[in-house]
Symmetry: C2
Subunit: 296 residues, 2 copies
């Protein structure tokens, strides 16, 4: 598994060879995305959910995707430390993955890394991503079930709304629920969810309160994950999401292949000289893009 | 300006017509990106910096880009309320822009919207983006000068490091500097910046403390923005960044055009049936992408 995921990280040409074999064995796992702003306790919650899933007898894969550090190219030690308690459990596989800074890196590499964990026999693959914004939407696109984590004291209602979380959550988790303000966050969230357009017919995202550091409420999270899977399988939503994901993945691979071709046009010279012409005012980006596409 | 930016938002085919004219008049403005996690006071800071720039006699454009709400397709009222104090100033133009949810939407539309403000004669274009993660890297890619905002009480040191901010800031602003913990944040940041690899030769990102709600420290922010522009012009970095931006923009336009062609292949049928084959295990995404590219 480690070697296969390294192939994905390195964007190895060998992926093409193993891809067919992976597809054949994949499709069994429930892909669960976990997202939320820094400070809500994402890693602690992920670790607690892993424990809960293990208690329920599931084999668990964890993919910690870090789209926010494209330059450093790696995840920080903290996550690994938090995950260490699972190190001796053969039913848990944990892997951090960086996305190497290219736009759409997450879109390209994550589905393939998830497929490795899926094909290897994980019942649940948890995909943990950092932060809010674009990355969150990505994780929603990657997952069968998206958990959105909140915590008291992370800013006012407008900021919660701003973060775009109302559209992506299948299950909302209010962590640090023993702190002041947890009831307030739950009330705000409930009110805003009532106003929001539901993306999926009759599924009403539950709000679960946890104190992940103590394990409180984690079994409720696991139950909510199970309920969502059942609902999805019954409603046809599971297939719809997987089709959409396959579309996105095919497109991402095709676009990456095209970008590579752009880059290799006479040793980058073409794109560079087109960029120079745009900066100099000699052409506009549309005409430059036309030239680029004509050259292909 | 409003109509031109609407063309960008709507991805209108007319953009192609006006693009050459815009390029001709653009290139004068300093593009300043403002980013930071929810809760640091980004909108308040942006508004205060607008005031500071106006005191210095600059014409200012503000583009509030909201990549985190691709589903709702619009920015929230809060920003507009905060910006209202500039409503009667003819030297300030403020516009919110949504990115309509397509991956790379920010990459595609923001440079064009920025160019509208630039060509219209703004001396400084402030680009405010929500959140951390991928979006932050994007704003760094869009801007000549990137301001990263922090505030006390937003999580521990590892989370600051996680957010990927150490690589993108040209100027660091610690807002809410009158609160407990501001000195601590400054110390942590200084220590981490000392460890980080500097992306640009001899520029050492300054750390400026502000209380944006009172206007404290804002003139120092404006001075830091000016210094960075001077350094960039002298060192050649300005041209390097603009060339890189033009490359990215040309590529984004070309990729968008290709995506449109993917989508229009026999009324989406091809991509859908390829996705169905991948979900069913009949093919793998690489072979599906090959088929897609061959069909083009």
């Amino acid at each position: 598994m480690a070697r296969l995921i390294s192939l994905v990280e390195d964007a190895s040409p060998l992926l093409r060879e193993v891809s067919a074999g992976l597809v054949e064995h994949a499709g069994h796992a429930q892909i669960v995305g976990i997202t939320g702003a820094p400070g809500v306790g994402k890693s602690t919650s992920t670790s607690a959910v892993v424990k809960g899933l293990r208690r329920a007898g599931r084999r668990v894969g964890v993919l910690a995707v870090d789209p926010s550090s494209p330059f450093s190219g790696g995840a920080l030690l903290g996550d690994r430390v938090r995950m260490q308690e699972h190190a001796m459990d053969p039913g848990v596989y944990i892997r951090s993955m960086a996305t190497r800074g290219h736009l759409g890196g997450l879109a390209w590499s994550s589905p393939q890394a998830i497929r490795v964990l899926d094909a290897a026999g994980c019942d649940v693959v948890l995909v943990e991503t950092v932060g809010v914004g674009q990355s969150e939407v990505d994780v929603a696109g990657l997952a069968d079930t998206t958990l959105v984590l909140l915590a008291p004291g992370m800013g006012d209602g407008i900021q919660v709304a701003k973060a775009g979380i109302l559209e992506v959550g299948d299950v909302y988790v209010i962590n640090k629920a023993d702190r002041d303000g947890a009831a307030h966050v739950a009330r705000d969230l409930r009110a805003m969810l009532a106003l929001a357009t539901h993306k999926d017919g009759d599924w009403r995202p539950p709000i679960v309160k946890t104190v992940a550091s103590k394990g409180d409420g984690i079994d409720d999270v696991v139950a909510a994950i199970d309920q969502h899977r059942e609902w999805m399988a019954g409603s046809g939503e599971l297939r719809r999401r997987r089709l959409r994901r396959a579309r996105d993945e095919i497109e991402a691979i095709a676009v990456t292949a095209l970008r590579d071709r752009f880059g290799s046009l006479s040793g980058h010279a073409d794109l560079d000289s087109l960029a120079g012409a745009v900066v100099g005012g000699g052409t506009d980006p549309y005409r430059a893009a036309d030239t680029l596409l004509d050259t292909l």
